[in-house]
């Protein structure tokens, strides 16, 4: 009883987080190599060696950082990723946290992520990190509305705010087909949330690493890990909300989840490498003027579809 209801879900979430974060490194390396980065060591080993190096490096500090916030921010980001992954259902019976409002809980994870990323940049007390932090707030406050509209879109046919119900409602047809605008918009949200690729406004190259520019050693390892873990959590949510979660023929449910999550991850990492960074001002305008109306349309579409 304890094992099946408590230990197993906890183990599943934490193991997925760890293995998933490692796989993010592997897939990203493989995509990079496929796109023509010079081939060094095998992609399987690269994340491990990088992690080992960061563990042996000295942790940098700045002149007068906000110590507690600075050390807490990476750990909190990791904890948020874990929370996000905990609401993802793996099969009709294996659901780590089956809150009746798990969709809303995921929304709060998105909102809190903005706070944590801001805190990471703010507490370093250096110019480049500060700019990165504030830029991210502009993005974080813009994508949140899009994400909520899109997720309400998937909650409509399910008549519930529970991810397990959302998955169950896709038995006939996956939401990715039923609401064609939803997944692309949600993927953009995911890139924003993990500040990956085109929406890397927080840790970008023009800021010499942005919020992470003054961080080295173990704190940087935790930060990178948390970012990858958040990507994993996001892919889990995207797979449940749009790709039918555990549903699928022949294979057992959790396996389908893994496959779908890997697909979402690969797509996200590919977009991250192919699209240039968007300028902050353009990014905010794009979110509010183009993507927000699109998410409106998605919601109306979903509403009509659910009633017919």
């Amino acid at each position: 009883m304890i094992v099946s209801e408590l230990l197993l879900p906890v183990f599943v979430v934490l193991a997925t987080l760890a293995v998933g974060a490692y796989l993010v490194g592997v897939i990203d390396g493989a995509i990079g190599a496929a796109l023509g980065a010079p081939r060094g060591q095998s992609a399987w080993l690269a994340p491990l060696t990088q992690g080992a190096w960061l563990l042996t490096q000295q942790a940098n500090t700045t002149e007068a950082p906000d110590w507690r916030a600075w050390r807490l921010a990476p750990a909190l980001y990791l904890a948020l990723a874990a929370t996000g992954l905990a609401v993802v259902p793996w099969s009709p019976t294996l659901i780590p946290t089956d809150l009746t409002t798990s969709v809303v809980l995921w929304g709060s994870v998105e909102a809190l992520a903005t706070v944590v990323i801001f805190l990471h940049g703010w507490s370093a007390n250096t110019l480049l990190a500060l700019i990165g932090a504030y830029r991210y707030v502009a993005l974080g406050l813009s994508y949140i509305l899009i994400s909520m509209f899109v997720l309400i879109g998937v909650a409509l046919p399910a008549e519930s705010l529970q991810f397990s119900q959302v998955v169950a409602s896709q038995a006939e047809m996956w939401n990715v087909i039923r609401q064609p605008l939803g997944l692309p918009l949600f993927l953009i949200v995911g890139l924003g949330m993990t500040f990956w690729g085109p929406f890397n406004l927080a840790d970008s190259r023009d800021l010499a690493g942005g919020t992470a520019s003054a961080v080295s050693g173990p704190p940087r390892l935790v930060w990178n890990l948390a970012r990858a873990a958040m990507l994993v959590a996001f892919s889990g949510v995207a797979a449940s909300a749009f790709l039918g979660g555990w549903l699928g023929p022949w294979l057992p449910g959790p396996l389908w989840m893994v496959i779908k999550m890997l697909v979402v991850l690969a797509v996200l990492l590919l977009i991250g490498r192919l699209v240039p960074r968007v300028q902050p001002e353009r990014c905010v305008t794009l979110m509010w003027v183009v993507l927000l109306p699109l998410s409106f349309i998605d919601l109306i579409w979903a509403g009509m579809e659910a009633l017919l």
């Binding site: 916030a69 009746t100 809980l105 709060s108 809190l112 706070v115 507490s123 705010l161």
Partner: protein, 205 residues
Amino acid sequence: MDYPLTVDIAFLLLAILAVVSGWRVFCTDSMVRASFFLLVSFIAVGVIMILLAAEYLGVAMFFMMAVEMMVMATFMVMFMMNPAGLNPMMMVHQHKFSIAAGVVIFVLLAGVALLAEFPTNPLPADLDPVTSLGNELLGDSMLIFESAGIVLLTTMIGVVVLSSHRGRYGGAHEGSMPPGLVPGGDPAGMPKEDEEEGGGHHHCH
């Protein structure tokens, strides 16, 4: 209604967290920390709401307050001197009076809570809080719901008018000038600039 012991312990910890972080808001030097202490206080209250079976309200509290406190932090940093609290400071007035007022309010409310007899009507077992809230919104309280929309719209327009500097018609202070009576002339019905600026001088404490 009886709750299991774990819930009671959790409530106790959360209550302490909510009060302590609420208190820390006013005695920390860093504005960012102050905003996020307030956020922690809200989150603790949100978790208590979830324990009370108001799952939707509790979780919604997280995301509403995360956004609001994020905005709060940016504004705090914008407008407060020494926003990170590098130098300790105490920007308070009527300090003793405020403490007294706070204590009096607490004692009064606590007295009401302790002495008044409230009916005990726990939640029906089959109640789905979210559904009942949804039905209420679309049914009896439809008017509240729609008027909230109007009020929010007014807020949005007011906010834009007040805060936006560079509007469609140029800068905010220019935009507030009526056009001149003759082309290129002084704005109609406006006092001269120096009169308008007359009373302003800085207050530093």
